[in-house]
């Protein structure tokens, strides 16, 4: 059994930020992450971030990850990290988290406070042969080429023209891989115009109101059939055969929320946040007084806001443990919320603001104002 003041589950932008914040006040933190390296999805992001200077706009994602890890190193023994270590279960009655290092070595952690920063998982849409090897999540394609330098394939069909679909298409081109087309079921491009313009300039067609009808191939993907879709979502027009060996799915993400269910947190299905998420107060505390949530696990958004939510959760856990003074805590909480509101400002933030409004509750004990 391992004892700690704070257990951070998930070492992505939210988890690392929370760990740094909590440790900066003196809390002992254990971070567990199922991947081989810490940093979550940041390590795959080769593009420069938008957002605000506080969240390092203009810096590439993988560099932000290094900056956060350097910050954690500064706290020495106060922060313990375990990579390739998966949190398997939360035992609500005694507050124990069961973890697995690798595939077979189990150990227990008894933390005083827990942050669930487990991120998200890739969505898949139904079509014949969608289980064929070669149908990969967009994050998986990024892992292959941006983290491990492996060529994902010769020719890729991208499904989805949101920011992820557009950015990964551009990254494929950077890696020397051909992108046959981007299909998008909606009548408009979901991602930022700058990303769309970049791939269009490089000759990749973006076919709106088009979707994948079927993946072709026996043992692996050998092609795809795409077709126009009507506003009622039926296939119309002629079938188009696409020559490709990878079908990259960028059709959205779901929050990874199993541990929150296990912890008995009050949950709600919020379409704007892309799935079931935990109710939380301004300090990112859930209805379980020892469990906090931050980042994509709290609702699909993006890495900049995940980092701020992580800071808030870390601050709040430190305060709850008696490390931060009330006045300082409340002041800093306001500053972080100003930053969050700035990131969620404007037209692009409408969906998130609507989603957050459905799950933000007055007080679970963390916000004494």
């Amino acid at each position: 059994m391992k004892n700690t003041e704070v257990l951070v589950i998930g070492g992505g932008p939210a988890g690392l930020s929370a760990a740094a914040e909590a440790a900066s006040y003196g809390a002992h933190v254990v971070i567990v992450d199922s991947d081989l390296r810490l940093g979550g999805q940041l390590i795959k992001q080769t593009h420069k971030f938008f957002g605000s200077a506080f969240e390092r706009a203009g810096t590439r994602g993988f560099v932000i990850s290094d900056i956060l890890l350097d910050e954690l190193k500064g706290y020495g023994d106060r922060v313990e990290t375990y990579s390739n270590c998966t949190a398997l279960g939360y035992y609500k009655d005694d507050g124990v988290v069961n973890c697995m290092e690798g595939e077979e070595n189990y150990f227990k952690v008894l933390p005083k406070k827990i942050l669930v920063a487990t991120g998200a998982q890739e969505r898949l849409i139904p079509f014949p042969n969608n289980d064929l090897p070669g149908v990969y999540g967009a994050g998986a394609v990024q892992t292959l080429m941006n983290v491990y330098g492996v060529v994902p394939g010769k020719r890729v069909l991208m499904v989805g023209a949101g920011n992820i679909g557009l950015i990964v298409s551009y990254q494929l081109l950077q890696a020397g891989v051909e992108v046959a087309a981007i299909v998008e079921a909606m009548p408009r491009i979901g991602g930022y115009w700058v990303h769309a313009a970049k791939v269009r300039r490089l000759g990749v067609p973006i076919l709106l109101e088009h979707s994948i009808k079927e993946a072709l191939g026996k043992d692996v993907v050998e092609g795809a059939i795409i077709q126009q879709i009507s506003p009622g979502c039926g296939f119309i027009g002629e079938e188009i055969h696409v020559d490709c060996d990878v079908i990259c799915m960028a059709v959205g993400l779901n929050p990874t929320c199993e541990l929150l269910w296990q912890a008995g947190c009050e949950m709600k299905y919020v379409p704007q946040l892309c799935g079931h998420v935990a109710l939380r107060d301004r300090s990112m505390r859930t209805s379980n007084p020892n469990v906090w949530v931050a980042g994509d696990a709290a609702g699909i958004e993006e890495a900049s806001s995940a980092m701020v939510e992580g800071r808030i959760a870390g601050l709040s856990m430190a305060y709850d443990l008696g490390y931060a003074k009330e006045e300082e805590y409340l002041e800093k909480l306001d500053i972080y919320w100003e930053r969050l509101n700035a990131l969620r400002n404007g037209e692009t933030g409408i969906k998130i603001r609507e989603g957050i409004a459905q799950v933000l509750t007055d007080d679970f004990g963390g916000n004494k104002r």
């Binding site: 390739n84 077979e104 890739e122 289980d131 990969y136 999540g137 998986a140 892992t143 330098g149 043992d219």
Partner: protein, 110 residues
């Protein structure tokens, strides 16, 4: 291996080159990198055969969440190969069906 040789932003620092076997066939990959990535670099995309429909499966999420890339590694089934590091001499096999967990003693796992 099918590796990215030139990239405008990234520099890939691979670890030591090690040998492993896939279905008895000798291959090379980088130590410490996920098994699934090493296989993909060797042109291998089929990692598993589903228990009932006998459908081929490769990886899907590559972050250890979807169970699509389960394989038998050194005799251990259901290994998430997308987040299990490659080691020298590993014996990697396609997992057919659910895989069998080895029991050394009665009631004792492994």
């Amino acid at each position: 291996m099918e590796l990215i040789r030139e990239h405008p932003v990234l520099e890939f620092r691979h670890g030591r080159l090690v040998r492993f076997t896939f279905e008895g066939k000798e291959m090379e990959g980088f130590e410490g990198e996920p098994i699934a990535m090493a296989l993909h670099a060797n042109g291998i995309k089929v990692y598993r055969e589903t228990p009932e429909m006998k459908r081929p499966r490769g990886f899907f999420c590559a972050i250890g969440k979807c169970s699509s890339c389960f394989m038998v590694v050194d005799g251990v089934p259901n290994v998430r190969t997308c987040i299990t590091p490659l080691k020298e001499g590993m014996r990697i096999e396609v997992q057919r069906g659910k895989g069998k967990i080895k029991l050394n003693h009665e009631g004792d796992l492994k």
